[in-house]
Amino acid sequence: MAVIDLANPTRFLNLVNRVLPWLTAATVLLFAFGLARAMNAPDDYQQGATVKIMFLHVPAAWLGMMGWGVMSAAALGTLVWRHPLADVAGKAAAPIGAAFTFICLVTGSLWGRPTWGTYWVWDARLTSMLVLFLLYLGVMALYWTAEDPGRGSRAAAILSLVGAVNLPIIKFSVDWWNTLHQPASVFRMGGSTIDPSILTPLLIMAVAFTLLFFTLHLAAMRNEILRRRVRSMRLMQAQELAEAGA
């Protein structure tokens, strides 16, 4: 019953209008809390204060990947169930996922300068994120190029699924390519070595970023629904004038 209700764009819009203010408030509060904790987190004994970049870099990386996950789920919804909101969700997720991936790349690069002595290293992690960013740009270009939203979203859905299947393969090959050429000397930020005094703010920031993602995603979905409404009304306008014999 709930699913059928949500399939109606007007109901969905009403829901978004009700939820969005609360979600925005929660995001702002959590960011304030997370940033305060992050500022007061102790420095890393090896990297010093630059470890503060991690509070942005790591959540952005997670959300960049999660964005593709959302798009792939939406792609399944578009192709398999033909759910009307699914391609709206997919289209709205692409620029947001791309933006977070971009944040991840830029902060990674700014972190790399003091750590590696250069802004960019073809490190396996960063390179995989770069490939993900390129895939995002491809999907966005596909949405942009298609004039008919229905056809465009099906094509983009197929591309998202192909990308989802391909991403692990890309990750694997980039790792292999990277170790072939370079000793794996880059710094590690593996799980258990992180001190709780850093891990807690990181997790809070991750949740804050996730809330930000969904706030933006819902707002962008609302815009996309309105855009489609504009499109159908314009079609009606041209048609009504033709019927009137003007």
């Binding site: 004039e147 314009r234 079609l235 306008q237 004038l241 033709a242 014999g245 003007a246």
Partner: protein
């Protein structure tokens, strides 16, 4: 104002389409070009418009602007509507008005004349074939040029729009303009001159 063609010849891809075609039209006159498919109706219009190389003979427009070529004093309405789907109705017409030497103030009345004024802000992609055709015709109204070259002007137009087009053509002729139209059927003008190209029944 006089449009004179003398002993025109046309060949496409080595094949002779027509030869020895002559006619002369003065201001206020309209001419209907008929003939079977492939007889060269469109080629004749495109020749006058300067879009196809003139293989033999010559075309002259006298009594107009001495500085401008025949093509610059002519409007050509071809099979395609010369519209960009991503631009709005107003932007499409506004561009052609500016490019062809008219000014922006003529856009609104021209849209009014073809009945598209309420759709001015709509992207051209949303238009039906008949509406696209009417927007294309609005170009002839927005920029004043004495010679109209119309290739199947009534195609895609419904009956009321055909009446409206005939009215626009009558106004143009009354103002001393010249019309050359290639068509299969009637276009709603009284007693236009006839020119049949090519052998065989039309």
């Amino acid at each position: 104002m006089r449009l004179a063609a003398d002993n025109l010849g046309c060949s496409r891809g080595g094949r002779t389409v027509f030869t020895g075609l002559s006619f002369s039209l003065s201001g206020g006159e309209a001419m209907i070009v008929t003939g079977r498919n492939g007889a060269g109706k469109s080629s004749l219009l495109r020749m006058i418009a300067g879009l196809v190389h003139i293989a033999a003979g010559q075309i002259e427009l006298t009594g107009g602007d001495a500085e401008a070529s025949t093509a610059e004093q002519a409007h050509y309405l071809g099979h395609h509507d010369a519209l960009k789907p991503s631009l709005s109705v107003g932007e499409n017409l506004g561009f052609w008005a500016q490019y062809l030497g008219g000014d922006a103030a003529t856009v609104e009345p021209a849209l009014e004349a073809v009945g598209l004024a309420p759709l001015s802000g709509l992207p051209a992609a949303y238009l039906s074939a008949g509406q696209r055709r009417r927007l294309s015709i609005a170009r002839l109204i927005a920029v004043k040029r004495p010679l109209w070259l119309l290739d199947e002007p009534t195609s895609a137009l419904d009956a009321p729009s055909q009446v409206r087009l005939a009215e626009l053509m009558r106004v143009h002729l009354a103002g001393g303009g010249i019309i050359v139209a290639a068509t299969h059927g009637p276009i709603g003008l009284e007693a236009p001159r006839q020119l049949r190209i090519g052998p065989g029944p039309a």
